[in-house]
Amino acid sequence: MHNLSLKTLSERLQRRELTSVELTQHFLDRIARFDGELNSYVTVTPELALDMAKEADERLDRGEGHRLTGIPVAHKDIFCTRDVKTSCGSKMLDQFLSPYDATVVEKLNALGMPILGKTNMDEFAMGSSTESSYYGQTLNPWDKKAVPGGSSGGSAAAVAAGLAPVATGSDTGGSIRQPAAFCGISGIKPTYGAVSRYGMIAYASSFDQGGPMTRSAEDAAWMLEAMAGLDERDSTSVSLARTDYARDLAQPVKELKIGVPEEYFSEGLDNEVAETVQAAIQVLADQGAEVVPVHLPNKDLAVSSYYVLAPAEASSNLSRFDGVRYGHRCEAPKDLNDLYTRSRSEGFGEEVKRRIMVGTYVLSEGYYDAYYRKAQKLRRLVRDDFVKAFEQCDLIVGPVAPSVAFDIGEKTDDPVSMYLADLYTIPVNLAGLPAMSVPAGFAQGRPVGLHIIGPYFEEHKILQLAHQYQQVTDWHHSVATDYR
């Protein structure tokens, strides 16, 4: 039951062959059984989940349900959830009960999706391995020596291990796509502005974008439809012409022109990963898609640009965590400066402090032009590359990450090598484009993701290609032995 598609679950719920309470209880049982070891959840909310499931059943009994009604969901702990601990993976918010719901949570609540709990993540979404969480490492269900990726590692691991049918995630530099790739699931980062950021704790506001993490492209289309849309409470949210993202799923890919950027297969990419991705591209070609070479010449500037701009925004976004109104406050502060210094020193972990320091530095008087302004220029160059590339193709495909999931602890002492793990995903965030990772096989026994990048607001096309690919492959049905 835990490996079924949303469509199947929905049909059974609607026909009342299955109740939401049964389904929810099933996932709660699995969480109880497996998550002690896997650690994909920071908080499990059984009572809330079952209460919501009961309500969902009542709606379904009355025949008033939406197609997602009754299907439980896990939320990344970056989404504010009313009266539930919302920690963002940080000691700073260890005691924080959110007084309100994020828009994404509100929307899924309104559809009647019971909340199983809040999933583990890198602290304040800063990381690519979920190792920077205050709540300990989440394991990769495929190989417990490996990281699940990050920052949405908890959501990815939970879906991959069948501890949630679907989960929410957020992607600032690859935080949906990279863990999806590492855990062998599907995850889409929508166009910047498609999903409201209201109530999603900000890391780097001009990059942050929420999205679904699911077992398949079809599931992702269903979820994205439920999550996207204009929100007056988020000024950067966009009014969308259409949100029926599943509309083209059944369309064949033979009319599509697929661009393959040479720069995405250059030095640094693991050979076996490269071969796996090339094989996936061959499948698309066999299905009739036209494969053309494209260029993204400024790709190598992206990581540098990102690691100036994102920390700059983060240093300001995280200033509100000052120990004054909520969150961690140090014991017996001597004076105001002591209150600030100790509350923040104690409340934030190493990676967060590192990025606050970098961000503060690049915005400082005398350095702003050399770093922040220059990084903004690079950001435009990277975006322009994509705009040009999309004049020659409908979608761009390539690897999600340069390697499969790395070992726990492998990169924790070398932040730059950790940053480079995101070199294929970051350019997409700089440009604000939609992109997805879908399972495409294995290398060294660990999952590999296929990266599909689309033009602005063409998520439906990305999902179409992903779904068509999943019609002729079954990587997305693979489940790690322990969790079948």
Binding site: F79, S98, T236, E313, R320, L363
Partner: protein
């Protein structure tokens, strides 16, 4: 030895008259219980996002047009980062590089008969901080976030003023302007209009001296005193070979002195950068044209019109344009009565007196312009005398109704019937034969006596002019 030249620039924070805060739906009404007007955004809760209150945009455009400045067609909100407990997000949202009102603006002031034009560098939109309260809890500081997020227009002048008098003239002119534009209520006691002065001195022909910033002065009189004190202080320092330190100083009106608050050298590097949560404010030509069309008549133009069209004196025109509410009242009254001079007399006479005594502003007057026009009409058509009108005005002020109601209730109708007056006159003359004889014997001042008797007989209601005329006629006959 050459004299010191004083150089002053002002930064004025005008609180914009909106219903709600600049980025949240909380009320900005003054005087509420602490933290009752602070929602999740104002508290800086995680995940909260600002949404611009669009009502501030036309107000800023109107201001820019009124001072002749260029309007920023694409202005950008930046974050000014610093830590303070009354700054919940750890940054203030303000406009740094691209303000909504750009350069080119100015204001004309007059000091001792001389006019000068003071340049305005820029004006930008920003949010106010909350308030730290240091005296409410022993050993602790309280934070009230009601004010956090209140919309402000910060108006920055050029360092064009050369005396405390010029600075005050400029501040007063600005105070008048923002009220006439209906963008700020100008209430200095409540902090709706705050003036910070940058003061330095130098010898003419040499570069400007180091400036001190005088903050949070809440009356024009204190601005003048503070600047004068500060100038004297700086002269004393420089003439004894010392150096002026760049710093913020507070003015203490009780001791009439300025005191150092903090040295700017130690101040923060604010790390300004564009706020990624807010879109740039794009202003179209049509937005500017709409505000230009709706631009109210400004005080200088009003004063000229009052003098030219209505023949009022310069002083009267000044009094009648002391506030937007005053001129609105006055112009309504003139519209209704067509009598500018009489309207002016009422406003500057009985109405002002009553308002002063009650401590009310003109827009709080219990006697509205319409009510006063009703009263003036009854004087004009002879229903009541000018003296009665004062009585009716008092009654109206006390809430006894409109002029006609009061006149009716008090039976104040003036007797204008010629026959009735003649009858009363004849009776009085018949009752006082000795006095009639005296009058006719040349004691013409006796006329006053007869008028008094007739008015008494009529219970004050006879038209005095008619009584006079009839008396003279009858006395001449008999």
């Amino acid at each position: 030895m050459q004299d010191w030249e004083v150089v002053i620039g002002l930064e004025i924070h005008a609180q914009l008259t909106t219903q709600t805060k600049i980025f949240s739906g909380s009320s900005i009404a003054y005087g509420a219980e602490p933290n009752t007007q602070a929602n999740l955004l104002d508290l800086g809760m995680p995940g909260q996002l600002p949404v611009l209150n669009k009502a501030v945009i036309p107000k800023a455009i109107r201001f820019g047009l009124a001072i002749g400045a260029n309007i920023g067609r694409r202005s950008v909100f930046d974050r000014k980062n610093y830590f303070y407990p009354d700054l919940p997000k750890g940054y203030q949202t303000s406009q740094f590089s691209y303000p909504i009102v750009e350069d080119g603006g100015s204001l004309e002031i007059e000091v001792e008969g001389e006019t000068r034009r003071i340049g305005i560098t820029r004006a930008h939109l920003e949010e106010d901080a909350g308030k730290s309260i240091h005296d409410a809890f022993p050993g602790m500081t309280g934070v009230d976030l009601n004010r956090a997020g209140t919309p402000l227009l910060e108006i920055v002048s050029e360092p064009d003023m050369r005396s405390a008098q010029e600075a005050v003239a400029y501040a007063r002119k600005m105070h008048e302007l923002v009220q006439f534009l209906d963008i700020c209520d100008g209430n200095m006691q409540e902090g709706s209009f705050r003036v910070d002065s940058n003061v330095s001195i130098h010898k003419p022909g040499t570069p400007f001296g180091t400036r001190a910033e005088l903050k949070n002065i809440n009356s024009f009189r204190f601005i003048e005193q503070a600047i004068e004190f500060e100038v004297a202080r700086q002269i004393e320092i420089l003439e004894s070979g010392g150096e002026v330190v760049q710093e913020t100083r507070l003015y203490d009106p009780e001791r009439n002195e300025t005191r150092s608050m903090r040295e700017k050298e130690e101040a923060n590097d604010y790390r300004y950068f564009p706020c990624p949560d807010l879109l740039p404010v794009v202003i179209e030509q049509a937005d500017i044209e709409r505000e230009a069309e709706a631009m109210p008549e400004l005080p200088d133009a009003k004063r000229a019109r009052y003098q030219q069209n209505w023949g009022l004196s310069e002083d009267d025109a000044q009094v009648l344009t002391a506030s937007r509410a005053m001129s609105d009242y006055f112009e309504t009254l003139v519209d209704l009565t067509g009598e500018a001079k009489k309207a002016a007399n009422w406003l500057m006479g009985d109405l002002s007196k009553a308002l002063n005594q009650a401590g009310l502003r003109i827009d709080q007057s219990p006697v509205t312009a319409k009510m006063l026009a009703g009263l003036m009409a009854r004087v004009d058509d002879g229903t009541i005398s000018g003296k009665m009108a004062k009585q009716v005005f008092s009654a109206m002020w006390d809430g006894e109704g409109h002029a006609d109601e009061v006149i009716e209730a008090k039976g104040l109708k003036q007797i204008t019937d010629e026959g009735a007056i003649t009858e009363m006159v004849d009776q009085v003359l018949a009752d006082h034969p000795d006095q009639v004889a005296a009058y006719q014997g040349g004691q013409e001042k006796m006329l006053g006596f007869f008028v008094g008797q007739v008015m008494k007989a009529s219970k004050g209601q006879a038209n005095p002019a008619q009584v006079n005329a009839v008396l003279k006629a009858r006395l001449a006959q008999s």
